[in-house]
Every structure is written in C-alpha cells, then in structure tokens.
Subunit: 413 residues, 2 copies
C-alpha cells in the first residue's frame, strides 16, 4: 500500500491564528482507503520553496495531495510550482475557461481577467470538476505516483475529494477491501471504555480498533482489510458483535451522527416535543439542539435561569426549595425540569443546574452538576461530577444531559 | 533577519483527529521577534524521515524549532534524529540524570530505566531547563543556524519557549525593537474594512499591517520594527491613530479581549443587568455571554422561543403582531426584547429572530435576521442579512447582537 504526503499551500496558514484543517479530512479519507499519511507540510506562497517541497514529497511518498494556491491572484502558485517540480508545461485549457465563464454568467457577474489564470492545467493533468468554486482540481498520474491539486476552501475541497479523488485512488490502489464498524458512545470515560473492550479487540490485529475520545463522547472505529468483502466481514464479525454487546445502550450512533441529531430523530419518530431549563449550561444545551436543521419541529424553547429569582419567577421553582437545598441540588433540578415542561407544554424537558466555576455560589464544589429530566412518565434527577475548568464543566454537562434524554426516549419507545 | 522552520514530531499528529497547535504559539512568539516562519512540517516517529526533514529545514531556514519526541520511549526519536542530521554524537548527561532523579524523588515515584533515555544530550547542546516535565529542552548553536529541541506537551513547551528560547533568540537576532497596535473590530465585513483603511496602511511598509477575519469579527495588527523603542513608536504613530479614527467605535478591544468579555465589563461598570430572548440564535447568545466567568453578576437569564406560541406565551408577544408581520420582523424583534426586559426585570435585553435555514418558515429569505434591543432609553430593532448556511447565520447574528448591545452601552455611558 502506498504512502501519502499532504502539502497545504498559503502564507495565511503560517500565521499564528490559522491552522490547516483540510489535512485532517484528507487524512481520514486516505486512512479509510488504507493509506497512511507520512508527513504534512504547510508552506507559504513561494514558488521555489513550493516546487522543492513537491519534489521532496514525491521522493518520500507515492501519493501527494496539495491543497490551496489555485486562486486567481499572483499569490496562487500551486499550478506553476507543480509544473516546475515535474518539468512540465502549463497548458491553457479552453474547457476550463468556458466553465469559469459560464459560472460567472450564472452569478451574473463579469469575469475578471485574472480569473484566466485559473484555466491553466499542468500538462497531462486530468480536470477534477469543482462545482462549488471557480478553480477546478487537477489529477496527475505519474505511473507509480499521483499528484493532486485541490482547492483550499474546505467547502470545495471536501466534496471534490470524495467525488473525484476517492474513486480514482481506489482504482490506483492494490485491490483490497476495507470494511468498518463504527460506534459512538456517550457518558463513559475513555479508560473505562478501554478496560471494557480491550480484552476483545486485542485478541486480533485485523480489524484494527481505534478509540478517539472527546468531551463525554468516544468514537470506536474497527477497520478490517481483506482480499474480498466476505473475508473482511468475517474478520469484523469475530469481534464487532462482542464489542457492541459490551457497550450496549451506551452506543448512540453507528453512522457518525451527532448526539443532537440522534435525539432529533428519536423525538421526531415519537412526535414528541422538547424544552429546556438551563442554568449551568447557559444556553449550550439549546444551542446544540437547535444546531440541527429542522429542530423547530420538536424543540419548542425554554428558559435561561441564571439566578435564583429567575428560577422562581420563570420556572416556578419554589423559593423555599432553593432555600432548603440550594440552587445546585437534585430537588431544584427536578423542579426546573417540571417547570419547563409545564410552562411550555412540551412532552419532555431537560434541566441543568450546577457550579461551572471558577467560584462556587452555593458551596457545592466546582464541577457539581445536577441534571433534571421531566417526561410523560415522571421526573427525575441525576448528579454528575465534572472535573476541570468552566468550559469543560459546561460541555460535559450538556453532553450528559442530551444522553440522559436519549436513554429516556429509548426506554419509553 | 533570519527565517524559521517548525517541525512537529509525533505519529499521533498525523491522525485525522489531532492538529499541531504548538506551532501557532511558537509562530506568534517568533513573529514578535520579527522572525517569519517559512514552513511547518508534521512528521511521524520515524528516525530516517525525521533526520532528513531536519537537514532539509537547515538548508531552508536559520532557525529550526522541533517540538515533541523527547519522551522516554523508543518512539521518541528527536534526540537521535538531530544527532544523525548534524553528524554529532549523543552524550549521556549526568546533570540531566540527576535532575530527572530528583524530580521523581519529589513526586515520590521510582524512576524507570527508560527515563535514562531522556538524559542524552546532542553533543554541544545547551540544556534548557523544563521544570514542568522530565525532558529538558536542548539548544544547539551552529554559528549561523540554531536548532531547538522542545518538549511536545504545550504546558511544558510554552513556558520553556518564553523563558529559555526567547532570551537566547533575542541575543541571536540583529538588535531591533518591535512595537505593536492591535484593534478588534465587530460588525464590518473584511473587504469593507480593508477598503476603509488600506489607503492609510499601504502608505508605509513599516509597520506591517495584518488583517485577520473571523465571523463578523476582524483583527487588525500593526507591527513596527526599529532600532529603538522611540523609532518604533514614531513609525506606529504615522498610521495607527489615523486607522483608529477611521474604525472609530467599531473597535471593541485593543488588548485581544473577546466581545463577550467587553460587554461583561461594560455591564459591570454600569451596575446593569442583561437578559435575552433567542429564537434564531437558539441559545448561542446566552452561551457566549455565560462563557465568561462571573457572568452571573450581570446576566439574569432569558427565553428560548423557538415557536410562535412560545413567543406569545413566554414573552408576551401579541399573536396578532406575529400574524400581521410574521415572526421574522422588526416588530416581533422589538416585542421580544421588550418582553424579555419586562419579564426578567433586567436593565437591558437582546432579542434575535430570523431564518437560519435551510428552509424558511415565514417566507423571509434564509439569512434574514432581526435583532431587537430594549434598554432603559427605549426599544429598537435592526435588520441584518447574513448569507451562508445555518451555523454561519447563527454565529454572525450572535456576534452582531452582542455588538449592538456594546454600542448602546457605550452610548448610554
């Protein structure tokens, strides 16, 4: 299997504010094809340095992916540098020009002369159509090596890579079949999860198991390689079902969907509605729920109650209850959820109250959070302890609140 | 002035989940010294490739910064690779060993044999003390070139770079003084801003002006270099005040503070409180406000009204008003802000209603957003058009709502 090197082009990527993220996407896509990335380079708009980097990459790796530097200005040097590195000419392509002109007509804008620069093709390169931008990608097959020139904007690069590069790479790579299983798991720490499933996945080297941990969110990837699809599936079947059983209902997605997407689907299937009452999470819960297109179908709204008075006035939490238990308590979390459900008329309501820090207002240790949930079947609360600083406490609380809702939705199927 | 190249070492940095962030910090520090980063490389734990990359870097740049690969395991190859690239030996340092042993004693742990690997020094290297970790940094002066070996954990690299590398680099660099000005600007597009201030900053090459654009948020950096502080200040004074005047009250920060931090300070100074009524922003506004520690001093809470019914029931927006103007209207934005202010008793209230897409519920084009603000002086609304997809509309609306509040707070000083 060949190796790959990724070169990101653009002086703006050498500032302290910008980081090359295209390479993460390309790496993920290449890994799925069984190709490893051996080196990543970020380089400025400098023709000589760029040409040298391309030659260097070709001596290290069979697959060289370039992103950026395909724009219309004089700073956009990737085409020139690739031609120089390969000792080839740049050919003016009437086909690309016609396509660019058509695009400008479509947007009723006049094409500037500089855009003609984008119509140059490295001799022998294949055009990779880029319906989202003016610069097409280019694919150069060097018989043993491949060089790809891709546009820098992620919104152009990603679909182009998936639609044009992946199929070509698949033909280019030695025949092998890759089959994968993917589990997204909420509400579990990385070390606990690893202790649970390591006895299974360490039995075999193929499939390879990768565990990626986020904030209260873990991804388990299994990747089996074989000569045929049947063999790959057999390899997966030797461990995947066992891992799936061990993880059980902690798995919330098998296709990469986010937790907020899964919740939206569950609510939609049940024709149920949701509201929130947020204190410690300060809007983060609603923000995640409403980040999903169409969420207005099931999310009605809710309350941000950042003071005791607001908990009482907006949610009807009894002042005596807060007095007796403090605002960071199981009792108040339950009352907040009940209040949100009653006042919005939603079927489900989530509430979160806690101490995000850096200081504690109630005396409860920073990181103490109570989640409340009100459902057609009743109301309950759950205490969580989230170590770490303010943003971490808020993020983890949000994630666990969404997972609590998911579990209740599944239980009340 | 010499150039720099940064090499981040570690196979984990070649996965699709991890990105090298040390280089951003090092770039910022180097830029302040007047040094430009010409290339960044990420490379795995592979001795031959790493040694080749180091040789290559030395042929391109005078300053080579390596991060990572200084740990105690066999995968930690930076020391070996540098020695190989320079044709030098690795020398066992009793001084480093004694230091590591002492550190283990301090933490009452037994030093493992593998940690002896961390006591090897490239021949001729100076030790850079690393009080936060076991691996010291190394500084190699090649008379004309400098190679630095720095630990990978950011918590170790950053103080080590500031305390040990910056002073050495300063001695190494031609004497120069750098003075900067910094403006953060909200509520303006990048091209409009550039058109406004380019006539000023293009008059001079020193200071260098850099414009970094985010979502409704632009940073303008001016950096002047001279032999003395007075000269550098004089250079800045030739353009900075003029730029500052042109940008006027669009500047919200001169020290890097976020917009939500600035708003918190303004509210605090006035002893004023804030609430929100969010529809299109779905919690994002509250989430940004409450991301600031201590925000409970001025943020009381608010309402998430994701349906017409909730706008009426929770905020008291008249159903007839929504019927007459749709929920995405100036009238409803004003009524939402008034409702939030009245029902929470806050001094100020922000409201946002609009179409985030992908579909429009009211017929208003996707990206149409009305911001409402209620203050002790009255209520008003502002229409914004935010092209782009859902997250962009939400983010830009949030930013412009915060900026609207900032302007009203300043006006009502």
């Amino acid at each position: 299997v060949p190796d790959a090197e990724i070169i990101a082009v653009g002086s703006e990527l050498l500032t302290h504010e910008r980081v090359d993220t295209n390479s993460l996407f390309v790496t993920e896509q290449l890994n799925v094809l069984g190709v490893e990335v051996r080196r990543k380079v970020v380089i400025g708009d400098d023709r000589a340095r760029l040409a040298a980097a391309i030659r260097d990459a070709l001596s290290n790796a069979e697959i060289v992916v370039l992103s950026g530097g395909l724009g219309p200005t004089e700073d956009d040097l990737t085409r020139d540098a690739v031609a120089a590195a390969l000792g080839r000419n740049l050919i003016f392509s009437d086909e690309i020009l016609a396509w660019i002109e058509q695009r400008f007509r479509l947007f009723q804008r006049k094409m500037a002369d500089v855009n003609r620069r984008q119509a140059f093709l490295v001799e022998g390169a294949e055009i990779l159509p880029n319906p989202r931008g003016t610069a097409p990608g280019q694919w150069i097959d060097l018989h043993g090596h491949v060089v790809m020139l891709l546009p820098g904007p992620p919104g152009e690069l990603k679909p182009l890579f998936v639609n044009e590069c992946v199929p070509r790479l698949t033909r280019h790579l030695p025949p092998q079949v890759i089959r994968t299983r993917f589990f997204r798991v909420a509400g579990m720490g990385e070390s606990d999860l690893d202790a649970l499933i390591a006895p299974v996945y360490t039995r075999v080297a193929n499939p390879v198991t990768t565990i990626l941990a986020g904030m209260g969110d873990i991804q388990v990837h299994l990747r089996a390689r074989a000569g045929t699809a049947e063999e790959a599936e057999t390899l997966l079947e030797a461990v995947a079902p066992e891992i799936e059983t061990l993880l059980g209902d902690r798995i919330y997605s098998r296709n990469g969907d986010l937790l907020e997407t899964v919740i939206g689907q569950l609510l939609r299937e049940r024709g149920a509605t949701l509201s929130v009452a947020e204190s410690v999470t300060g809007g983060m819960l609603a923000q995640r729920i409403t980040s999903i297109a169409g969420s207005s179908d099931y999310f009605v709204g809710g309350f941000l109650t950042y003071s005791n008075r607001m908990k009482t006035e907006l949610l009807g939490v009894a002042a005596e209850l807060i007095e007796a238990h403090t605002a960071v308590s199981e009792e108040v979390a339950r009352a907040m959820a009940e209040g949100a459900r009653a006042r919005t008329g939603s079927d489900y309501a989530l509430a979160a109250t806690g101490e995000a820090g850096p200081e504690s207002a109630t005396g409860a240790p920073v990181g103490t959070v109570f989640l409340g949930i009100a459902t057609p079947a009743g109301v309950e609360a759950r205490k969580i302890g989230s170590p770490g600083e303010r943003q971490r406490v808020r993020s983890l609380s949000t994630q666990l609140a969404l997972d609590l809702l998911r579990r209740r939705l599944i239980a009340q199927r």
